[in-house]
Each structure stands twice: as structure tokens, then as C-alpha cells.
Symmetry: C2
Subunit: 286 residues, 2 copies
């Protein structure tokens, strides 16, 4: 470590233990990056401006810093540290920039699309613990893009939830709801993150998926997706979020086939099963 880096690291010596660990490591890695690439002053100025614009485009419906973390793989790196792979627990993936708290409540069997465009899709599964026993009454939040690749919050003139909601699994762990079939879509490219992707020759596409967030007392809250097995971009997700275990077959049915909940629909529809295993909480989060 050079003299300057040592001096900056020392300035954090008086911080509380965890904060000291994090800030001193941040300083070492940040300085090592600057030294390694021999960052020019024009690049430093560009970085300041890039971060400023990333902040200015971020509001209560758009989170460009999460998007930046996502495309740099920092979100998945954090998830990897906190949810090591292995075992039977359902794997985690990125949170993404389009989550909203306080979404509409639904009952099992309801249609959460609420007018979002797309082909009808019936999603169902069972929520279990690592021993295979059902977890009763888990709180499930789901959100997804419509067939044009847009989340409800991306429509400036839409003031209600579409393709987004929460429901509670039954006593036996089962959940089921109607939504629209997800499609591959580009992450927003009209901001600094889009500029980064374009400049570096990367595409902005994500494979088709539905977001899940599942919480139950005594279990780690799970943030994940289910991906459609026939989607494009499963091998080149712009945010590195795909895990093989999260890919499910979405089966297409003709209108003549009775739906799993005993209804008929007048257009072709899809069904998919996404069973979920929650990890038992071993210790209180710090």
C-alpha cells in the first residue's frame, strides 16, 4: 500500500468495528483500481458526472443505482456471499429496480395482471422447508413485466398496479394465481446505465421471468425469479441473474383445455409450476 492509501485507511481507524472493516477495504480496493488503470482526470470527471446523472434520474419509481449494481454483477456478487449455493434451498437472484412495497392484496386464484397486456398464465407451487414439510401462510410478493417488456411503474400515465401484487400461501404451503406470460425485455436504456451498455457493446436484454419475494417467520426472506425455459438470453442476462435451478417449463395450452383451477379461457394460455424451498433462519440478522 502506498503512503496516501495508508493515510486514508488510517483515518478510519476510529470507526466502529464493522464500519472500519468495510470503509478500509473500500478505500484499499478503490485506490488499487485507480492505480491499476492509471485513471485519467478526464475519466474521474466523467465518473463524477455519470454518478450525478445516475442520482438525478433515480426517483421513487426508478432506481438507476440498483440497475448499475445489477449490470456490474455487484448485486449477484452480494447475493452469492449471503446465499451460498448448495442444498435444497431455492436459489436467490437480483432484486431489480422495479420492486414496490405496499402492493395490492390478492387471494389465491386471483388474476394479478389487472389489465396488463399478455397471454394468460397460471402460476402455482408449494412452499416448503428444507425437510420437505409445507411452510404455512408464507407471504408472497410477485411482480413482472407485461408482453411489451414494461413494468406498470414504467407507464407514466398508469397510476395503479398491473402484474404486481401479494398473496398468502395456504396452510398446506400451496399458492396459485393468474398473471400474463412473461417475455424477455430490455432493462431501461435511456439513462446512464444504458449509456454504459451501449458504449461497451453489451445488450440490455433480460430473459423472461417473474419476480418472487417470499417471507415466513423463522425463515430467511427469499428474493428470486422464475425464468421461462424457452426464453432467449438465458445465457446472457444483462444482470447475470439466471441460475439453472430457477428455470421452469411454461406449457402452452389450447382454449379447449380446462385450466388447473377448472375454468375455461377463450384464448391459448400457459401453466407453470414453481415450488419453493425456504432456508431456516439460523441466527438473527445483524
Amino acid at each position: 500500500m502506498n503512503e496516501l492509501t495508508e493515510e486514508v485507511v488510517r483515518s478510519f481507524d476510529g470507526a466502529p468495528q464493522r464500519l472500519k472493516t468495510v470503509t478500509q477495504a473500500l478505500v484499499r480496493h478503490l485506490h488499487a483500481f485507480i492505480d491499476e488503470v492509471r485513471l485519467t482526470e478526464a475519466e474521474w470527471t466523467y465518473a463524477i458526472d455519470f454518478l450525478t446523472r445516475t442520482g438525478h434520474i433515480t426517483d421513487d419509481k426508478r432506481q438507476e443505482f440498483i440497475l448499475l449494481s445489477d449490470v456490474l454483477g455487484a448485486s449477484m456478487a452480494t447475493i452469492k456471499v449471503n446465499h451460498p449455493a448448495g442444498g435444497t434451498v431455492t436459489e436467490s437472484t437480483v432484486f431489480g429496480p422495479f420492486y414496490l412495497p405496499d402492493t395490492p392484496k390478492f387471494a389465491n386464484g386471483d388474476d394479478i395482471s389487472q389489465g396488463a397486456h399478455g397471454q394468460p398464465c397460471f402460476l402455482s407451487g408449494v412452499i416448503r422447508d428444507e425437510d420437505g414439510d409445507p411452510v404455512p401462510h408464507a407471504a408472497i410478493e410477485v411482480w413482472q413485466a407485461d408482453e411489451d417488456g414494461f413494468y406498470d411503474v414504467q407507464y407514466a400515465d398508469l397510476d395503479r398496479a398491473q402484474g404486481r401484487g401479494r398473496l398468502v400461501a395456504e396452510q398446506d404451503g400451496r399458492y396459485w394465481f393468474w398473471t400474463v406470460h412473461p417475455e424477455a425485455y430490455p432493462i431501461p436504456t435511456d439513462g446512464p446505465v444504458g449509456e454504459l451498455l451501449t458504449a461497451t457493446g453489451r445488450h440490455p436484454m433480460r430473459p423472461a421471468h417473474v419476480h418472487f419475494r417470499v417471507a415466513a417467520p423463522g425463515f430467511d426472506t427469499l428474493t428470486t425469479h422464475v425464468f421461462t425455459s424457452d426464453s432467449e438470453y438465458l445465457d446472457s442476462d444483462a444482470v447475470f441473474g439466471v441460475k439453472r435451478s430457477l428455470i421452469a417449463d411454461f406449457r402452452r395450452h389450447e382454449p379447449s383445455e380446462l385450466t388447473p383451477d377448472g375454468r375455461t379461457v377463450d384464448v391459448p394460455y400457459y401453466t407453470a409450476t414453481f415450488d419453493i424451498v425456504l432456508a431456516r433462519q439460523l441466527h438473527r440478522p445483524s
Copy 2:
């Protein structure tokens, strides 16, 4: 490098050469930091919120990202890479968050304080090249805080420059102007950067200084300060900007003493000399 980091690094393989170097190094260091500290998801969420608030408090008069770069030593690390120490050239230091382009023009001998509070101070020097020959007509920008530690742009109800301006050195390299004696002051602590300093037990103070930016055709533009030798905090500048070679004696004079430009003032005043050596531009900046 683990599999995820490798995948993210590879995604930048198609970028133009310099951008590829910078983004791939950024990804490697960012992931190494996350892995090393085992960043928790709560810390990741805090970081996203911290960056968002840093963006939201930044406007055309306040640059919190520069301040963040400064307190993490990233600004000085960048300067170190681009302006290696050694030789006779005047050393560089941080740009800081309070620079403004297009400030009022002054002639040598003018008073740039324009009503800023503080004790009168006469600053002068000669601008030379590395051979000791005068650099004629260099463009000099200066800016500084008043005796209360505030820059003009920090006064919400002040709509004109105070303690800020530009002038042009004479044919023989000499410049001189009146201003106010600089005082040590805290960097702004009412934003995320202040929160970071408080949480980590660091003070926000900078030793007394006047900012200089000096440009002349054929020379590298110099961004630096002159520090007062009797200031507090020379050993613990919150932004790590002090270099021994930039410290000058500011001498106090009684009103009875004639000023260097042959005037009398009715209060005690200060004089200081700050000679500057510019580096010849060896190649076009990229």
C-alpha cells in the same frame, strides 16, 4: 477469480480497448471488495440509498460526489497517478466541490473578496516554467472560503461571486491580488458525506487554503491550493489534500506598514507569496 466475476468481466470483452480495461478492472475490484468484507444485503441496500441521497443533494452549486471522492482519498489518488511528485513543478491537489466556471474578471491588484468577510490579504507570486523562465499571461482562477468558512455559493441568498475570480499574469509572469485571509473550515456535513464522517468518527475540517487553477498554452493546467503555514489540521485534512510544498507563510502586518502595492489599509493585513511552476505539456491529452 470466481465464476460470476469471470462472467461479468467477459461481458465487457467487446468494449473498445480503454473502456474494456477500465470496466473489467472496476468489476474485479468491486467484486473483490464485496467478497472480502462479505457485504450483507442490508449494507448493499444502505449503499444504494447512500448513493441515491448523494445524487439527490447534488445540484449546480453543490457536488456531493466530488466530496465523497475527496474524503475517500480517491481524488488525491487520481491526482497522484496523473501528476507524479518530484522535480520543480508545483504539486497538484484536489479540485474540491466549489469550483465554478465563468467567474468575474479582475486585473492584477484588484480585490477579489468583493465583500467576503475576513482580514485583508495580499497574495502574489510569479508563474514560471521548469527552467525558471517566466510564463507570460497565464490564466489564473482563484476561489476560497471567507473567515466563517463558507464559499459564496454556500450562501443561499447571495447571487454574486465573493472570494472568487480570474485574472491574467503579466508578461513577466507576475500576478498579485487582494483577498481575505483564509481560515480552516469544515466541509459540508449536512449530507451523506457528513453522515459518513460522523459515523466513522472522522472530523470534517480542512486547513486554511486558497484554490488556484492556472492554465497557459503549452503547459499542463495546474489545479492546486496554497495553505497557510499556521493553520490547524495541516496533518489531518479531511480530504488528504495537503502537500508540504504547498504550505506558505502568511505574514501579519500592522496598519502602519505600507502594503506591497504602496497602499495603506486601516486594519491589520496579511501578505503571502506563492510562486508557481507549470509543467510543459509533453503530449496531447488523450
